[in-house]
Amino acid sequence: MIDFDAVEKHYAGQRVLGPLSLSIPQGALCVLVGPSGCGKSTTLKMINALIAPDAGTIRVRGRAVGDFSPEELRRGIGYVIQSGGLFPHWRVRDNIATVPRLLRWDETRIAARVNELADIAEIDPTLLDRFPHQLSGGQQQRIGVARALAADPDLILMDEPFGALDPVTRAALQQELSRLHRDTGKTIVLVTHDMDEALALGTMIVVMRKGEIAQSSTPADILAHPSNDFVRDFVGGADATIKLLEFRRVGDVVRQDAETPAFAVPENATLRAALTKMMETGTTILNVRNDEGKILGIVRIEDIVSASKQS
């Protein structure tokens, strides 16, 4: 979907980014993560030509970014920024309709699409006729996402979309983004400085540092095999072992045993949830049941510990 080939960005004669080579496959939810100033936002903005590279090429859907007119390219890519960036003088409805209007859809089609998006992004229809300043930060960001989806692009770029939200709202919107990604199969590139957000959302994580890629892999692989000390520290040091348990399911380690524990966990629970359950109940062994409540076997604390060492 997106290919970076030896891309560089220079500032005052100095190379500040790259050479960067990276492939983001179609359907991925790729998270660019790293500390401030690592070049993750610059990398993102080069995809929709908001920033031009000084060397190398970027291809989107196989075509070099420079071959498009920037406006044509951008209208085919959804774009969400931290504060929402909603137009304060337009009603929510008109904000969502921005790109369809630029693409000159007819008004009946736009109206239908806006209502459909309100449904998809779970926006209360009464909010559609309000102005952005009348909404909460979470609602504004929801509308920012709906606006990015408006013309149904197959690629969406998000620049720290949840950075300015409170933890509860952030978690809710993260879950919805995951659901949206699962349901639509769109390619999403998201920038964040929050490793936990990256682990919670990404199917692919690119850890960046000082304009270079420190490691690019799946979340579980980065947790289990950080390529260097920087990545190890950034993913949370000793905490990484616990976080890794999020990526394994109880169903993967279930086994048969004669014992009959007092408590049970569902087979699709994460190992971390199982561990938490053990600590809450003061036991070291739990039943594993499927959706119908049938007992499939048991899980022991030893199994969880050894699972965290494998992978």
């Binding site: 908001l50 044509e72 951008r74 931290q82 929402g84 909603l86 304060p88 003088h89 630029l102």
Partner: protein, 395 residues
Amino acid sequence: MSTASLADARRGLRIHVADRVAFALALPAIAAAIFAGFLSIAPNRLADGRPLALWQLGALDSAIAFGLLILLFAAAFIRDETWRSKLLFVAGAGLLIAILLTAGATAYGHLDPREPARRISLGSAFWILSAVGSLACFQSLQRVSRTAKILAPLALAAAAAAIAASGALDALSLTREFHAQRATFASELARHVGLVAFAILLACLCAVPLTLAAVYRENARATIFTTLNLLQTIPSIALFGVLIAPLSFLGAQVPLANKIGIGGIGAAPAIIALVLYALLPLVRSADAGLRNVPADVRESARGMGMTPRQIFWRVDLPLALPALISGLRVATVQSIGLAVVAALIGAGGLGTFVFQGIGEYALDLVLVGTLPTIALAVSADALFQIVLANLRCRP
């Protein structure tokens, strides 16, 4: 007695000023009513007048006026906001009407057929009381609906106009000066408005490229603002004077320029000077408005795929509109005042009466020029405020 109850007692005794503005208005008004001349009676147009204070007038008239002043003073101590506003408006509006009627009626009383040249002018107490009355009205209208904010001053202005039209003020020197100038008043007023309107129109046209350059060309910005700031510091009379020489040269050398009325004196230098003065407020506020468009809003507009032209027309301009209108407001009000000076170089307008009055040492003739100028400026200001308020509630 415990400290707590002592504090309670003190609080109970303390007189609480609920409305400091009303309080601050009432005191000088009462002082002016007692000590300053309300009317001034002179044997002729040139001689100095004998002042007549408000309390020296008819018993009923002064009782009403002082009663309203006491009401105004009392209003400052009312804690209930609704009642305070109502009382303030009654006192302010009442005061305005009462002093107009009193001045008119008293002037009739002092007319003397044996002294036909006798002049009865409005004194400083009249002006102080009318200012206090107007301010009290505005203060009382602070928290009312927008419709009331517009209607109440209109109703007051209509009442004052009706009193003037009824002939009740005809004995005053000011009215007599006005009647003497009646033939030219309407045309000079129209000329004044025309000068300002044309100058503002031209200034807006000039402000567009200057603003665009200031906002989008960083190196032009400093030059533009230095020049405009410098222009603003030149005294108006000097600027009018400076323009006479080049324009009379132009008028003499270029036949076309002469044909369309460009010359050293008259409307051309006046309009040019007004345009130069109007540019700074226009460009400065437009520049601020355009620069204050939030960066994230512009970035998302770009990221959505708007062209630079679309960003300007659909995002920058609508968001800067309130600032543009406030710049227009400042420029217009300023031009209405400055256009008075334009009469000095033969451009006409309400300044004609001002300078004629100064020349003849007839202060009431000066007022025939200044009062309509003030009324114009205040109305233009109010008009722009209404437009702005409507813009703000529908962003």
